[in-house]
Structures are given as structure tokens and as C-alpha cells.
């Protein structure tokens, strides 16, 4: 019996479907297509929250608020979470908000350290004065609860082994009282821990950046106001990237290439501790830093391809089912006669 067209469609092997997916994702990415996206309210809320901390700090120079940034994601979701981290950290450093960072699991530590220092370097941030990497906070619920009073006794030292009591930033910021916001960038259910402990017990405000897979989990908390905005998946990252890019252009007001190559040129770099980052920019590094500024928007082009591909597949699949059902109904009717 000759195969009908819908049979062919319905019997496409999984490997071919997967190959198609591979192509629509890889081609736009390699071609470096960038996609602008519209900005949703939930991303704007998060941006505005950080802006409001900046404004508060401007007015209250002696009781500034800090941000606690939790690297709640592992190596697996770096492609989706990294662009969020980059743009949010960029925003924080641009606005010179004191920054504390921790990570809840050992494999997250290395990721956190490289990302943090990478961005700190682009804004001449000084370790211990502008930002601190506290290191491992495991089990994280213990640390979240301790931050209600003082997290220092649990840490003893920061990631680099410095005594927490000797770090200038930590003499002021060690509990939720002086934290304007907790930012959790994650692929896990960590925001729910933050909600249970930091928000419910200590009224701490929280913003979240999460992978698209888990975003649906957190929408209820965003609309109830328990989360101060959310970056949902790569799209959220792309939105934030756009907003921070506008801010950066406004504040720096210079070509990024020129800005980065001049950054450490005329200052005495012997004062800067090279343990955290090398205070100079090579040509290649500048290019990488520039590319990093549009990472999410490049990813969006792949996502566009993938979404359209899945829609087409679903459409074809349903057409196939429809005509096959119609045909089989017809044959049963004829047989019945």
C-alpha cells in the first residue's frame, strides 16, 4: 500500500526532528544574529528596584544599602543564567552599590568567582571595598536564617581566606538590615528558600532571575509582590541587557572599546591586588567583553528559530492527525456499509 503524505509526516524519526532542532539553533548563533526584544513589566520592576537603591544611597550616603547577590546556578545553565548575571552585575557596579556575593554549592563557586571578577574588572571595583565574595553558603537555609542577625560567624573567612571581620565592607553589611535587595540568579528552586527564610521571616526584598523552565513556578510570587520583579529565561536576560546598555551608554558616554582600553592605562596598578583580577585589558579580552554585552540578544535569535520550528512541527503533526483520523473515519463508515 502506498504511504499517504500524512503517514510520512507522522512517522518522521526522532533523530531527524532533533537534527532540525540542532540546525535552527546553531545557524543563527554562529551567524551572530542579534534580536531586539520588547521589555516586560516584570523585568522593568527589577531594574527599577535596583535604581531605587541607587537613589536611596545617593540621599543617604552614610547608611547606604547593599545588595546580596546569590549565584544559585550551576554549570548546566550557564548559557541561560550568565547573561542575566552579567547585566545585573553591570547595573550594580555602574551604580556603585555595595555588593556581597555567595554561592550555595561547591560547583557554583568557581562560576561565581570568575563571573564576579570579570565584571568587577570592567568597572574598576575594589575587592573588600566595593564588593566581597563570601564563598560557600552551605547548607544555604542556615546561612539565610543567620543573615537575620549576622552571617559572619558562619563564614569565618571569605572565599579567599580573608578574615570576615577584617573586610571593611563587612563591618557594615552583615544582616538583612542593611541589605536593600537580595538577587538570586538561579536554575533551581532556591528563590523559594529565599522566600521562606529571607522574605517571610525578615521581610527582605528579593529579585529573581531564572531559567524559562522554572519561571512558571515563580510568576505567582511576582504578581503578589513577594518578588521584586523577575528575569524569565533568556528573554528576561535580553531585556535587562537592553536596559543596562542604555544606562551604560548614558553614564560612560564613550565607546566601550575606548573605555575599556583606557580603564587601567593612566592609574597606578601596583595598588590593585592582582589576586582578584589582572588590571589591564588586552585586545582579545576587550572583544570578548563587547560580545558579552549582547550575549542574550544573540541567544534570542536561536530561541526565535527554535520556537518557530516547534510551532511548525506541532502544526504539521496536527494536520497529519486530522487527515489521518478523517481518512480512518471514512474507511470505517464504508466498511460499515
Amino acid at each position: 500500500m502506498k504511504k499517504k503524505w500524512y503517514d510520512v509526516i507522522l512517522q518522521i524519526g526522532k533523530p531527524y526532528i532533533y537534527l532540525g532542532m540542532f540546525i535552527v539553533v546553531v545557524v543563527p548563533f554562529l551567524a551572530k544574529c542579534e534580536m531586539q526584544t520588547y521589555e516586560t513589566d516584570i523585568s522593568k520592576t527589577m531594574y527599577e528596584k535596583i535604581e531605587s537603591i541607587y537613589k536611596y544611597n545617593q540621599k543617604n550616603a552614610d547608611s547606604e544599602m547593599a545588595i546580596l547577590f546569590a549565584f544559585d546556578y550551576g554549570p548546566s545553565t550557564t548559557p541561560e543564567n550568565d547573561p542575566m548575571v552579567y547585566s545585573v552585575l553591570r547595573h550594580i557596579f555602574l551604580r556603585e552599590i555595595p555588593l556581597l556575593v555567595w554561592a550555595p554549592y561547591v560547583p557554583y563557586l568557581d562560576i561565581a568567582e570568575t563571573r564576579l571578577n570579570r565584571i568587577a574588572k570592567e568597572y574598576k571595583a575594589i575587592y573588600g571595598k566595593d564588593y566581597v565574595f563570601l564563598g560557600l553558603a552551605y547548607p544555604v537555609d542556615a546561612y539565610m536564617i543567620s543573615t537575620g542577625s549576622d552571617f559572619r560567624p558562619l563564614f569565618n573567612t571569605d572565599y579567599y581566606g580573608n578574615d570576615v571581620y577584617s573586610i571593611p565592607l563587612l563591618s557594615k553589611y552583615y544582616s538583612y538590615d542593611n541589605l536593600g535587595l537580595v538577587v538570586s540568579i538561579t536554575s533551581t528552586s532556591m528563590p523559594l528558600f529565599w522566600l521562606q527564610y529571607a522574605n517571610a521571616l525578615f521581610d527582605q526584598e528579593i529579585s529573581v532571575g531564572t531559567t524559562a523552565v522554572s519561571a512558571a513556578d515563580f510568576y505567582p510570587f511576582v504578581s503578589s509582590g513577594q518578588f521584586q520583579g523577575m528575569l524569565a529565561g533568556l528573554k528576561g536576560a535580553a531585556e535587562y541587557e537592553q536596559m543596562v546598555e542604555r544606562l551604560e551608554n548614558k553614564i560612560i558616554n564613550k565607546d566601550i572599546k575606548v573605555y575599556l582600553s583606557d580603564l587601567y592605562r593612566d592609574i597606578d596598578t601596583s595598588q590593585i591586588n592582582k589576586k582578584y583580577f589582572e588590571p589591564k585589558f588586552g585586545a582579545e579580552e576587550i572583544q570578548v567583553a563587547i560580545n558579552r554585552r549582547s550575549q542574550a540578544r544573540r541567544g534570542m535569535s536561536s530561541q526565535f528559530g527554535a520556537h518557530i520550528y516547534v510551532i511548525i512541527l506541532i502544526l504539521f503533526g496536527n494536520l497529519g492527525y486530522y487527515f489521518k483520523n478523517k481518512e480512518s473515519n471514512k474507511t470505517t463508515v464504508t466498511k460499515a456499509r
Binding site: 526522532k14 526532528i17 532533533y18 532542532m21 540542532f22 539553533v25 534580536m35 531586539q36 526584544t37 520588547y38 516586560t40 513589566d41 516584570i42 550551576g74 554549570p75 548546566s76 545553565t77 550557564t78 548559557p79 561547591v106 560547583p107 563557586l109 568557581d110 562560576i111 552551605y138 547548607p139 537555609d141 542556615a142 536564617i145 543567620s146 542577625s149 558562619l154 581566606g161 536554575s187 523552565v213 512558571a216 513556578d217 510568576y219 505567582p220 511576582v222 504578581s223 524569565a232 529565561g233 528573554k235 589576586k275 534570542m300 530561541q303 526565535f304 527554535a306 520556537h307 518557530i308 520550528y309 516547534v310 510551532i311 512541527l313 506541532i314 503533526g317 496536527n318 492527525y321 486530522y322
Partner: protein
């Protein structure tokens, strides 16, 4: 009812469960909560020893029983040892061979491997969507349309912006409504299960009645 297998764990569960409840309600005992948190860290540290012992036992037995698959067990053992040694000596060190080994293993083996498994989701989701989004009843047709709109809306621009706005509405109104319903149910279920466990009504997890 044996003491070690049943009665003691049950007593521990009840005592620590009620204690945990009280610690949450009475702020005056907060310093005890801090101690409990510190103990937790230590206990978790010991647990990994049990895990590694189990893994080793499993693979030794496998090497004996299925010699044709023993290569995988050797790979497991060598990965376990090399990564443990590299992390132990290399993670905190600033230079040296162990640090280089750790950095390279982490950045160029572990991170890509982990990301690869996660990205497999892109493929699995296509085949799952292909099966799930079938217009067989009016409910599934509704799901199909909602899914289509959200997929288009997430990547919308220009003339497709209408999907973008619809997506925002779908994600923040109907989705949230359904999620809240499920979440309230889950919350109550969790509370009921916890209380059942604390009161010793539910003890299947201790291995039977």
C-alpha cells in the same frame, strides 16, 4: 518493634520535629536554632561518605558480574579520585599543578558536560511537545493555542507584538491562577505530611508499619 530500627528513629523524629516547631515559634531560642544549623552542615558532610561507599560497592560488584562493562566502572573510579584530589589540593591553592588541573577539569570537562545534558532538554522538548500538543479534545486544543501564543509571544517583535501582549496576560493571569491553586494544595499537603510524620502517624519511611 525493635529499638534501633524503629523505636529510636521514631522518638528522634517526634522529639526533633516538635523541637523544630517550637524553635520557629519562640524567638528566645534562636541561638539553639543557630546550633542546629551548624550541626546540619556537619551531618551533611558525613553523609557523602555513605554515598561514596555505596558507589564503590556497586561498581566493585559490577566489575565482577559484568566484566564487559567494567571499563565504565574504571572511568567512574578514576574520575572520582582525580576530581577529588584536584579539588582538595587545587581549589584553594592559587597556583601549582593541582590548581591547574582543577581549573581545567572544571572549566573544560565538568562545565561543558553539565551544560550538554541540560541542553538535551531542547531536543526532548520537541518530541514531548509533538506528542502533547495534539488537538484531540477541546481542552487539549485550548492548550495547543495557549502554547502556540506563548511560544510566538516570547520571541515577538514588530507585527507579532500582539502575541507578546497576549503572552504577558496568559503568563500573569490564567497561569498564575492555576499555579496558585496547585500551590495552596501542595502547601497544605506538605503541612499535613509533616504533621503526620512528626506525630508518628506516618512511618512508612521507616520501612513499614
Amino acid at each position: 518493634m525493635s529499638l534501633w530500627k524503629r523505636r529510636l528513629p521514631l522518638i528522634c523524629t517526634i522529639v526533633f520535629g516538635i523541637m523544630g516547631f517550637i524553635l520557629q515559634l519562640v524567638p528566645a531560642f534562636k541561638s539553639f536554632l543557630d546550633i542546629q544549623n551548624q550541626w546540619m552542615t556537619i551531618l551533611f558532610g558525613f553523609a557523602i561518605v555513605i554515598g561514596v561507599a555505596s558507589l564503590t560497592k556497586y561498581h566493585f560488584k559490577k566489575i565482577r558480574q559484568k566484566p564487559e562493562e567494567r571499563i565504565f566502572s574504571y572511568i567512574t573510579f578514576s574520575s572520582l579520585i582525580v576530581m577529588a584530589v584536584a579539588t582538595l589540593f587545587g581549589m584553594k591553592a592559587e597556583t601549582g599543578i593541582f590548581n591547574a588541573l582543577y581549573k581545567n577539569l572544571f572549566d573544560y570537562v565538568y562545565v561543558p558536560l553539565d551544560a550538554t545534558i541540560f541542553s538535551l532538554l531542547a531536543f526532548y522538548i520537541t518530541s514531548a511537545a509533538f506528542r502533547a500538543f495534539k488537538a484531540s479534545s477541546w481542552l487539549s486544543t485550548l492548550l495547543l493555542f495557549a502554547g502556540g501564543i506563548v511560544m510566538l509571544g516570547r520571541v515577538a517583535f514588530g507585527p507579532l507584538m500582539v502575541f507578546g501582549e497576549l503572552t504577558q496576560w496568559i503568563m500573569s493571569v490564567p497561569t498564575v491562577a492555576a499555579m496558585r491553586g496547585i500551590k495552596i494544595g501542595i502547601g497544605l499537603g506538605m503541612m499535613a505530611t509533616s504533621i503526620k510524620i512528626i506525630l508518628g502517624i506516618e512511618r512508612s519511611f521507616l520501612g513499614g508499619e
